[in-house]
Symmetry: C2
């Protein structure tokens, strides 16, 4: 349980990597989302004059928290207090709310620890160790195996490694595929599943400027939320946490970001990027645009409907805007030209050594074409975009659990492996309230989408609709299913039978008359068939990518970091201005800027302040020190979605901010790093402190953060 | 200039029709959107005991007004005062507004006639006569002609008829294709192009309940707007107008609707319906969903951006909801089964007489497949969804005018025929303000859509983008074009060169460096090529539909009305309750209902009342007579989009309401009439009167309407 170089250096790759890390540096100065076991510490020391000690790194790593709902955070007190973003906490805020309590919109503050609210299904992970298991994984795949067999063998050995690790350590154990298949590392994490809500501001200030300002800078958002990890019913005593910085950041400061970037495609080939540009992102955007229309219309039906759809609507708009940014990058000839030139350089090296074998680039292109050919059906069925209801998700989990559990651990669909069972059950048995009208609206829309995409006469469509229109069918399915917890606003008569069916296994599932379970069964064979095709194609790509990674490494001799995988990474950068349309954008905003922007937009939504802020505004505006307090700041750190909530620390390892966004120019970071204009955007720790003190008077929270007397700046 | 049976009865069809109209009745009692020259007057007399006199019909016909921007209206005073919907007037309200005056949102009331505001490009039409020209049109098409030649011959003879009529009468002259090609009638209309805004309420009350309540009932909307037609700078003295009814409608009353239903597909074959279900409507919805996301995001940037996008956003949401309703109908197995059974009955008759010829149903199906094959490219290029900017529309009109005008009238693209020239110029030279940021956002989105649809590597995409990303290219095109009038909020430096280029013709266009004109030129050849293919396929369908129409008529022996064509039609129905989910929905709502709904929705948008209504609310609520005044009502009249603003009259021909919507069940009316649940929704004339008197104190307007002392109910 300490900070670790890799424990086993069996693979060619891990060994090479270690050497490289000590020597070289990627093209752009602050580029990289580095695993904690592969940091270019020497080069960092040379460039920024900072030598990260094992103690410094251990504290940062073990203070970093992954939100399995999608996001990052950090311990900020010895009693398990966790700081993250409002929009990361939103999933829990939404699930904790009901028709009479809207914590997502209005915020929440626990008066005492006894008032902290337990989240229905939130799991936090803290990374404790990383072990290189590449050799063992690669050994399971022998030359001449078909892609399908290779995939199965790889899945089996990964499940075995994870299960062995869980048995030995009691820790959450995940074998993570790095470098698209170039390396396999076993990540062991401590898990917290009793997590409680401590404090959230109003969404109006957390997301001031709304969709319009999202992914923009300058920015003025108090996008924060506090939770607390519990163990055995008591606040967790955590060995490490981050101290609050005394001095706020200034332009030019070096800052470090420790978080969980979700996914990047920097090693994707041109064939993969083209597919992303012409197939995946357009399909994503169609889906998101449709959902945005649907959810906005549902939300407009009244305040309660608005509340039910609020977090989903935020997520859809956020996803839409980020996809548009990626699409813009992929349609920028300059971006593609750079990628093309880089690919051609490496490809010529590889192709010179093929000796009659097919180029890995061509194998990737062929596999990608196969994936593209099934993409729409795969997305509809296995991606379940045709069955957009939480009830359907539960039905599928129950159906598949019953089918998979009797099989050997290594032969199951990956999410049903033993080592993942606890996390899967946490989600399946969530007490999250579901609303019949809302679930019906989503399901009717998605069934309509299924019919519109495959055609109304498609046999599968006809089976799914069972002689009804999509709206009628959706209403019937939701009315009759018993696989979820009905929210107060939609008091269905149906009992909740999830646990009985799950525990009852195959015989109980076979005997069930639940219509949602029947629907999941109806599409399961075709859905699994498509998934099997996709997994084999992914295996082809994985093997080809491993070859390319090897060649790149041989040619570039440079330190390489793996594409993001929603695992802990360290990034760094400088608090720095940038130029846009001939203007200089200063990197630090203040509360004065917040009030000025509200005024400039006539205080109309989404530029209106919450009542609490309005009430204090006149007093605050007369306090020059408060008005000048840093609120948000921009830095060149290399981040992407999943980094939301990541702690930002200074050289001393003190908390100076919390990542919550990137600017619009950062949206191409998924395919290529850039520090000319792309910026990570953080809430400033000084701004958080001032808001807690002056607007929320959150004295006990400030005391726990070691900021008692925080009212004085 | 009088009300007219058809002047020439040369075609088999017109003759048959007249006989039928006197005898028979369609399946559903109040079904039908009847041309004024083909009314089933006898059957109407038998069923409803009402015999419409020529005088009654003449007054209603010549009081009915078509808004060429899309909608209907009626003269309500001898001084050319026109009543329509707020959402029909919205196009003009938007174009009259600027950063400091938002008439669309805040409403407008002219203090005197001198204060009435001239609309930039609004054209009103009043139908004066109809003449059957079927024989002449059909005679131009000879057996054995190719579809392309037949189309050209038909287009030529239609242009000639129109031009001759214009020369003789000085009236707007349009040959209208009825029964999908079964008949051709020449419509002559008086045109008003000096139209001024007189009164509009706030959008909040015109569209109370917003998108959520749109297409719903019960309903509470003051969706009205008053304009005035001018001639030679003075209020037009019109020979006919509708008197305001003294007594409001009651449940069970028979009402008549005279308006301009835009388009229906009741005679579409199954092949066409399937294409609509699987190709056209999904593509429409993708387009609308994308635009809704785009416009909502633009509108969220601030109050001024919100104002610029407001009417477009309304239109997009309205279009989305209506398409969803049609889609739901097409995906309803019961609806399709009825259509299938009906088609099979007629088809068996037709197929028995084919004598080796291909069935018209098969010819339609083949032509539809051809249309489906080019649908996406046709939509992108000729439909210009890839170039979503008013600047592009002007560029194309200028480019094509220059190319078409030198050709003989009958050989031009139809919209460039001489008889349409004045209307085309009214639109081209509109003083509508255009905003660079808004046009850039729409164009960037649509160029991105082009690239996403055809693929980033498509040669046409690459030519269109000219080495730039879609966003850069859109910004460049808008910045540099000079083909429009810049709004105050986007003061481009570019002069407005529309008229010079248009007047200058081919040489001026060839010499122009305008980039938007160059873009229009770049895609013109391919766009025209696709259009030619589509026109030939439409000709095939037209000929086949004429055969089917003949057979249907022979078999059913029933009166048949043509599908809607945005020409004047008469419909009627009963003010009538209906059942929904086991509840009875009463057909008439009141102001009491309005206030109750606002309260139930906590007065949150879109259920909030405008300030003027809030200010009066307390007083009004204490006035039992006001509270009980009818506000909106539902009837079984057969309407569709385009009927918005249609006058609703009682047996005496007095105005009792204004159509503004249909309920959600009415959205399938495009493919089949239903009077079980489908309802047309009107603003009640009594409600309008009360609102003008009690909330707006519009005394001079009331006096002009003959409602002086309207404050007393």
């Amino acid at each position: 349980m300490h900070l670790l170089p890799p424990r086993r250096l069996a693979s060619w790759f891990a060994a090479a990597l270690l050497v490289a890390c000590a020597q070289a540096w990627p093209a752009s100065a602050d580029e990289g989302m580095w695993p904690f076991n592969g940091l270019p510490t020497e080069a960092l020391a040379q460039r920024h004059g900072v030598r990260l000690t094992p103690e410094w790194l251990e504290r940062l790593q073990q203070s970093s928290v992954r939100f399995n709902s999608g996001g990052s955070g950090s311990f900020v007190s010895a009693d398990g207090l966790v700081l993250t973003n409002h929009h990361v906490g939103a999933d829990s805020l939404q699930k904790l709310s009901d028709a009479t309590h809207d914590y997502f919109r209005n915020g929440f503050a626990a008066a005492t620890r006894a008032d902290e609210l337990k989240c229905p299904d939130l799991e936090l992970n803290v990374l404790l160790s990383i072990e290189d298991v590449t050799a063992r994984v690669e050994a399971a795949v022998t030359p001449g195996m078909s892609a399908a067999d290779a995939f199965a063998a790889r899945r089996a050995v990964m499940a075995t490694i994870e299960q062995e690790s869980l048995a030995v350590s009691g820790l959450r154990s995940d074998v993570v595929t790095l470098y698209q298949g170039g390396a396999y590392h076993l990540y062991r994490s401590k898990k917290y599943t009793d997590v409680r809500l401590v404090f959230a501001p109003e969404q109006q200030i957390a997301f001031f400027g709304g969709d319009a300002d999202n992914f923009e800078f300058p920015r003025f958002d108090l996008d924060i939320c506090f939770f607390r990890a519990y163990e055995e019913g008591k606040p967790a005593r955590v060995p490490h946490h981050l101290p609050w910085a005394v001095r706020p950041v200034a332009a030019g400061d070096l800052v470090f970001v420790s978080g969980h970037p979700g996914h990047t495609d920097r090693a994707a080939t041109l064939a993969e990027l083209t597919s992303m540009r012409d197939i995946r992102i357009p399909a994503d955007l169609q889906q998101l645009n449709r959902l945005e229309s649907l959810l906005a219309a549902y939300a407009a039906e009244g305040p309660e409907e608005n509340r039910q759809a609020a977090d989903d609507l935020f997520g859809v708009r956020n996803g839409r805007k980020s996809r548009l940014g990626m699409q813009a990058g992929l349609l920028d000839p300059a971006v593609i030209a750079r990628r093309k030139a880089a690919e051609e350089r490496i490809r010529s090296d590889i192709d010179a050594t093929l000796a009659g074998k097919q180029s890995p680039y061509d194998r990737i292109a062929a596999a990608q074409r196969e994936l593209d050919g099934i993409a729409m059906r795969l997305r509809l069925l296995e991606g379940a975009t045709a069955f957009n209801s939480r009830f359907f998700g539960h039905a599928r989990t129950i159906l598949r659990s019953a089918a998979e559990r009797p099989r050997p651990n290594g032969e199951r669909l990956r999410e049903y492996r033993d080592s993942n069972r606890a996390s899967l059950e946490l989600e399946l048995f969530s007490a999250e309230p579901l609303y019949d009208a809302y679930e019906t609206a989503k399901l009717a829309d998605s069934l309509t989408h299924l019919a519109a995409t495959l055609g109304g006469d498609d046999p599968l469509v006809q089976q799914v609709l069972a002689g009804l229109s999509p709206r009628e069918r959706a209403a019937e399915l939701v009315r009759r299913t018993t696989l979820g917890h009905r929210g107060a606003a939609a008091p269905g008569e149906a009992a909740d039978t999830r646990r009985d069916l799950y525990d009852g296994g195959q015989s109980a599932v076979a005997a069930s008359q639940d219509p949602m379970l029947a629907l999941a069964r109806l599409v399961d064979e075709e859905s699994r068939r498509l998934r099997t095709i996709a997994e084999a194609a992914q295996e082809v790509k994985r093997q080809a990518h491993a070859e390319i990674t090897r060649a790149r490494f041989a040619r570039e001799g440079a330190a390489m970091y793996p594409d993001a995988t929603f695992t802990l990474r360290l990034a760094w950068g400088t608090v720095k201005a940038y130029e846009e349309s001939g203007r200089t954008i200063e990197p630090i905003t203040t509360f004065a800027g917040l009030f000025a922007r509200a005024t400039a937009k006539r205080d109309t939504p989404p530029f209106d302040l919450p009542p609490r802020w309005q009430a204090e505004r006149r007093v605050l505006e007369q306090d020059a020190a408060f008005m000048a307090t840093p609120f948000n700041f921009a830095s060149t750190a290399d981040i992407i979605g999943g980094n939301s909530g990541s702690p930002v620390v200074n050289r001393a390892g003190e908390l100076v901010g919390v990542i919550f966004d990137g600017n619009i120019q950062s949206l191409v970071l998924g395919i290529a790093y850039d520090d000319a204009q792309a910026r990570a955007v953080s809430v400033d720790a000084a701004g958080i402190r001032a808001a807690l003190a002056r607007v929320y008077r959150a004295d006990s929270l400030l005391a726990e953060l070691g900021l008692a007397g925080g009212g004085q700046q």
